[in-house]
């Protein structure tokens, strides 16, 4: 089972990284979903909170986790209420708490509130936040939360969707799970498709085999682009992901293939742009997001993100120059040195640059501010140039100064 938070790290491997014999161990449930385009976890918390509670209990029982903290994004009060009711019911019924169902298995699940900070979705920032501090990611390696996490103890941080899979897995068995999807991407996953499609929504798809074309054009899914328009581009895996164009539509939801094609599946959020979309403006909305959400620890992200935003805003406003385009790539290089992943383009005669990238920051917020700019500039440079003011001569028109 691959983690469903965004990195796609195998959940079982993560559990196995805890040092033997070191207790207490904690489970922190990551319900701080805020990646642009993503909202599967909110639905899972609002619509099936009991499934999540069961998942927490299974994880705690299996991995010897002494206390569970369920961290829900602050801006989701409905999810808070639904999960609170589910937990209150579960406590009343003896399914959570002391001596569960009369056994020696005892664990509390504590509902915790966030307060609005995208970066807290990063697992070490989540732990910092849960310790009552500013949500600034910790440097890793050397120590991952499984070794040194909450209060310095071994801690498993799992995404809501990951844990919500556990009850089904336990009842139906691993074989039934791996029978769905492919060997490297088993099971189903939830994806949110938004933007210019006929029927946007959150869909559960078969992992590894469903293609972007199935999802965007399939009758049971999004039913094509609105108003019969042409597809121009789409973001395949949350706002941090490099963009795809119609050329990549036949790729399946398979991490390795999508990585080789120059992007990532991330948090399962697809944002679709039709041919009417102003690409530089669309890129600006994402860059502005990541610039605003920088926690400020790493200079390349703190300064680079806002700088990118300001330059891009200037270009969008029609006050940019050609030097601004080069400047944006240069700022990006300071966040992500070397080749940055992007999709292939037959139109431009470009081959894909595969994942991953190098980065000069602790977490992925900085690179995420650059990703939309890089994709848009690489795949749609003509649209930026159309907005550039050509300053080829000095704009003065002074008559010959007085003849004496």
């Amino acid at each position: 089972m691959l983690g469903r938070g965004g990195a796609g790290f195998p959940a079982g491997t993560k559990w196995g990284l805890m040092p033997a014999g070191k207790y207490p161990r904690y489970l922190v449930v990551n319900g701080d979903e805020s990646e642009p385009g993503t909202y599967k976890d909110r639905l899972l918390m609002e619509r099936d909170p009991h499934q999540l509670v069961e998942g927490c209990l299974i994880a705690a029982y299996a991995a010897g986790l002494s206390q569970v903290f369920l961290y829900i994004r602050g801006e989701m009060p409905l999810a808070h209420e639904r999960v609170a009711v589910a937990l209150n019911d579960a406590y009343a019924a003896g399914y959570v708490g002391k001596n569960i169902l009369g056994t020696n298995f005892s664990v509390d699940i504590v509902l915790h509130w966030g307060a609005g900070a995208y970066v807290v979705g990063e697992e070490t920032a989540l732990i910092e936040s849960l310790e009552g501090k500013r949500g600034e990611p910790r440097l890793k390696p050397p120590f991952f939360p499984a070794a040194i996490g909450l209060y310095g103890q071994p801690t498993i941080v799992n995404n809501v969707e990951t844990l919500s899979n556990l009850p089904w897995l336990l009842v139906n068995g691993a074989q039934a799970f791996t029978a769905i999807g492919t060997a490297t991407s088993p099971g189903t996953r939830m994806v949110a498709v938004s933007g210019h499609v006929v029927r946007p929504g959150v869909y559960e798809i078969v992992n590894g085999t469903t293609t972007f074309r199935d999802l965007l054009y399939g009758d049971e899914f999004c039913q094509g682009i609105r108003d019969g328009n042409e597809l121009k581009a789409f973001v395949p895996g949350g706002g941090s992901a490099p963009w795809f164009t119609p050329e990549q539509l036949d790729l399946p939801f398979e991490g390795k293939l999508v990585g080789a094609a120059g992007s990532m599946l991330g948090s399962g959020a697809i944002m679709v742009m039709d041919h009417t979309t102003d690409i530089p403006t669309a890129a600006l909305t994402l860059t502005r997001f990541y610039a605003a959400e920088s926690c400020g620890q790493c200079t390349p992200c703190r300064e680079g993100g806002t700088w990118l935003e300001r330059v891009l805003q200037r270009v969008v406003d029609g006050r940019g120059t050609h030097a601004d385009l080069a400047q944006m790539m240069e700022i990006g290089e300071s966040i992500c040195p070397g080749a940055f992943p992007h999709a292939a383009s037959e139109r431009l005669g470009l081959a894909a640059t595969p994942f991953p990238y190098k980065m000069t920051t602790i977490c992925f917020v900085g690179p995420s501010a650059y990703a939309p700019v890089h994709s848009a500039l690489t795949l749609f440079r003509d649209e930026f140039e159309a907005k550039i003011v050509e300053r080829r001569h000095i704009p003065v028109s002074i008559e010959a100064v007085g003849a004496h």
Binding site: G97, F105, G114, Y151, P200
Partner: protein, 220 residues
């Protein structure tokens, strides 16, 4: 921010009264008791103070610091990191219009322009009657229902300018009081952990291997 005007009076009290009241201190202690370290309760208690006062006051910061065993500076440092905490009075209703990608693609800019005109304030401002604070917001996790906004963090999906006007009229007339509590109140239902059912905290300095790991028992 900046252009917002503080609501006049309106029950939002400053001064010593903005420490947590007696009932909330009891609740605060119960919340603190759920964590192995008190400081973990910082954010929940800041929310509690914001629920009481509408925003986070200096007194509340000092009081939360006392309760969780931190300094006021530490609590302020934490509080200012998070967008939801407000340090000056805001309207009874915080209107957050999402402007991130999917909402922008489907008309968020027009919605914001309309909202500014309708409320007579720019994004970041509060109406003179103290009813509404308008803010630009980032992704609200409802992208398939774009353009989207929240009032006191309650989602409003697929907004149009007409729906916005109707919503503002309804809020002003008190027709949505049952659905949308005043700013500061998040979830109206809290988690309850009855004392006799609690497994108890797992302190980091008590290296106890869980009983069920040592001797697993079959459930009935």
């Amino acid at each position: 921010m900046g252009r917002g005007r503080a609501p006049a009076g309106g029950g939002r009290r400053r001064g010593p009264q903005s420490r947590l009241n007696e009932a909330n201190v009891i609740l605060a202690k119960e919340i603190i008791g759920r964590y192995p370290k008190a400081r973990s309760a910082t954010i929940p208690l800041l929310h509690l103070s914001q629920q009481q006062n509408g925003y986070v006051t200096n007194d509340a910061i000092a009081h939360v610091a006392e309760l969780v065993g931190a300094t006021s500076a530490e609590v302020l440092g934490t509080a200012t990191f998070y967008e939801m905490f407000k340090f000056e009075p805001v309207g009874k209703y915080l209107v957050n219009i999402c402007g991130t990608m999917s909402c922008q693609l489907l008309g968020a800019d027009d919605l914001m322009h309309h909202a500014e005109a309708r409320l007579g304030v720019r994004a970041g401002g509060t109406t003179a009657d103290g009813m509404f604070t308008l803010e630009h917001a980032e992704c609200q996790a409802a992208c398939t229902e774009a353009p989207n906004m929240q009032v006191n963090y309650r989602h409003c999906h697929r907004m149009t300018t007409a729906a916005f006007d109707q919503l503002i009229d309804d809020l002003a007339a008190g027709r949505l009081d049952g659905e949308i509590p005043p700013h500061g109140t998040l979830a109206r239902i809290r988690q309850q952990i009855p004392a006799d059912k609690a497994a108890g905290v797992a302190p980091p300095d008590a290296p106890v291997e869980p009983a069920w790991m040592l001797a697993p028992e079959a459930t009935s």
